[in-house]
């Protein structure tokens, strides 16, 4: 069934017979659709499968659901982008996707499961060996386990096993909405506080029929782009650090903080906590603050341009970035990769353009084609320029009016799909309400859920020493995937 982005729809109308459901899902995905979400939800004494298919070029969305009570047909063999979704469904419900080529736990959260203890792909042969890294890593980063199959430096295959960050937040979100829901959304992935809070608020507003005032939309845009600026700038610095080019590493580390501090000026929190509320924003800007932010933005952008431009003009950096960790367009599309990582492989998907929301109008996205570390870094730089222009534009012409409207009770027996372009890519929240107008189910898909597989692909045929560089070029969220 065709649905509108951020439009509440009658959930019962999305139902199909099981046979028709699987046939439709497969044919829609093979016709250029991308699975924005595929999940199982409790339904009386059984379960219900729900798939959200996005057609990026046309900006179209479709939703289908079917009751299921036993093993079901795996679509992964013909649609590899569903591989992790089906593993998740199996882990959460025990319903087996029959024919899944590599069925194993996603989060190790079932009774008796031990994190990391599952089969890994192995390569056999003389002098072929395994390298295991994690869950605790050398840096100040989140935990995860990486298993490389190598011959010397050469990597045949990398398998990534996560789940260490699983803290049960999606399940609690589904029990809402209540006083804790918004903070749960904000901490789904801490560095994407605004992205996930916006996706949550937009879902609630659509179900409540609240119209967010223009001023609040623009303020949300300012915060989302500041979040993107901080993360992209920090990552370009970290990429420079990984190739031992310390000037840019040092400058960008500081500049990332400048953008975070601008968020703190708006709402008190460097990560934007507490800024968004269902119905609008909790803080407003006055003339003096707008002026201060404008000056800080200009200064931070000038210094960022100075620091980042060194990268493209330094031979050793360009040489190390170029040709490293290539993700082909075919792989990116086949695996349903999103965000700057997809755009760096030539995939034309940016939620701000394909599924416009809030203050985004006529957005033009930044795309690059080579799919290597250089391309992923360069797309980030293009987005830094774009985000700066967007923030400056909104600050210069902030619409007048209130910053929030009351957000009433939710529509019963409805559902909504909320898509936001976070700095890592498309965030998808799907909410279904029950007869009591509370959530019946709430499904979060962080961009990292799609993209971890892309990181594994970039290591094939590469070298172990490419790993930090490839990893940083994606900088994926462990907690956003583990929930």
């Amino acid at each position: 069934m065709r649905i509108n982005h951020l439009g509440a729809f009658d959930f019962r109308e999305a139902e199909l017979e099981p046979e028709l459901f699987f046939a439709t899902a497969a044919s829609r995905l093979n016709a250029g659709g991308r699975a924005a979400a595929y999940f199982a939800m409790p339904d009386r004494n059984a379960h219900r499968l729900v798939i959200i298919v996005a057609f990026d070029r046309e900006g179209g969305l479709e939703a289908y659901s079917t009751p299921v009570s036993g093993p079901f047909r795996s679509l992964t063999p013909s649609c590899p982008q569903l591989h992790l979704f089906e593993r998740e469904i199996w882990e959460q419900t025990g319903l087996k996707p029959e024919g899944h080529p590599w069925l194993k736990p996603v989060r190790f959260n079932t009774p008796g499961s031990v994190p990391g203890s599952a089969d890994f792909f192995t390569v056999h042969g003389g002098q072929v060996h395994e390298v295991a890294v994690g869950p605790v890593h050398a840096g100040v980063i989140e935990p995860g386990h990486f298993r490389f199959q190598c011959h010397g430096e050469h990597v045949f295959h990398l398998e990534i096993m996560l789940g260490y960050q699983h803290r049960g937040v999606e399940r609690r979100l589904a029990a809402g909405p209540d006083a804790r829901s918004l903070h749960y959304a904000e901490t789904l992935s801490g560095d994407t506080t605004i992205g996930h809070a916006w996706a949550y608020c937009a879902a609630v507003e659509a179900l409540a029929g609240a119209r967010v005032p223009e001023r609040a939309q623009a303020l949300r845009g300012v915060m989302l782009e500041l979040e993107r600026l901080a993360c992209h700038t920090g990552d370009l610095g970290a990429l420079a650090g990984d190739v031992a080019f310390l000037p840019t590493a040092a400058y960008c580390g500081r500049l990332r903080g400048e953008f975070l501090n601008m968020s703190a000026l708006v709402c008190g929190s460097r990560f934007g906590r507490g800024m968004l509320v269902p119905g609008g924003t909790a803080f407003d800007l006055d003339y003096a603050l707008i002026k201060e932010l404008r000056l800080k933005l200009e200064a931070a952008y000038r210094d960022t341009e100075n620091a980042v431009s060194l990268l493209w003009k330094t031979g050793s950096v360009v040489d190390r970035f170029s040709g490293t960790g290539v993700l082909t367009k075919e792989a990116a599309e086949g695996l349903g990769i999103v965000g700057p990582a997809a755009r760096a492989s030539g995939v034309g998907l940016d939620t701000r353009r394909n599924f416009p929301y809030g203050p985004y109008e006529d957005f033009t996205m930044a795309v690059s084609g080579s799919g290597d570390v250089y391309s992923r870094a360069y797309v980030r730089w293009l987005e830094i320029q774009k985000s700066t222009r967007l923030v400056a534009g909104w600050l210069d012409a902030l619409p007048e009016g209130p910053t929030s409207v009351p957000c009433g009770p939710l529509k019963p027996d409805s559902a909504v799909v909320s898509l936001i372009e976070g700095w890592r890519g498309q965030i998808c929240h799907a909410a279904v309400t029950g007869r009591d107008a509370k959530f019946r189910h709430y499904k979060v898909t962080d961009p990292s859920f799609h993209n971890w597989q892309a990181l594994a692909m970039t290591l094939r045929g590469g070298e172990i020493s490419d790993f930090p560089l490839c990893n940083k070029s994606f900088n994926l969220s462990y907690c956003g995937r583990d929930l």
Partner: protein, 242 residues
Amino acid sequence: MIRVLLARLKQGYRTMAFPAEGLKLPHRALGLPKVRPAGLERAAAACPYGAISSAGLDMGRCVFCGACAKAAPAAVEFTREYRLCASSREGLMVSGTQHRRAEALGKELRSLFGRSLRLRQVSAGGCGACEADCNVLGTPAWDMGRFGVQFVASPRHADGMLVTGPVTKNMELALRKTYAAMPSPKVVIACGACAVSGGPYAGHEECPGLPPDIPVDLYIPGCPPHPLTILDGLLRLIGRLE
């Protein structure tokens, strides 16, 4: 080469003075609360995390969302004071305007760690924001290396462990192994509401929390704590601040 040197000149010297006179959190940020008995029940009812009771406000459970101050402005008022850390869990309880600020380690440990503290960070189930604000302390703007404090890659090289996150079931073993791998004497720092009390995830059976047999020497509250709060706590712990 010349481009790199010119950029160096343009970027300038950016390390902030710390501690500095009049240093405060940003204007709209919420720091050390002032707690008054009038209307405290209303504040307690507004707190989604059960951080407020008749005894006062427990900063260890607080995520500094400000819901209490909005519901009962007479009972709770947040200041812009960033010095929030405590040496004991009880020290995070604010009644009136008082809480027991962190104290330095004993003389012996201070002579070992006072000029050089190497920390192994273990991220155990949080949202990644605490880690980000620990990382920022290594950038030129904060440069915590000037105080002799540094994050290291191996627990074998560490004097202490800084824990973030509510310690999920899936991270408990890795956390224990890291702790066991550090040579004694060692210190443990719980950074952020999650590590201190479970924070927003308190009560989830997926998050059993820091095991009670791993003793904590420093509690850093906040969700996430501001880098100022973290740096203040670390320096207080090693006796570099009075």
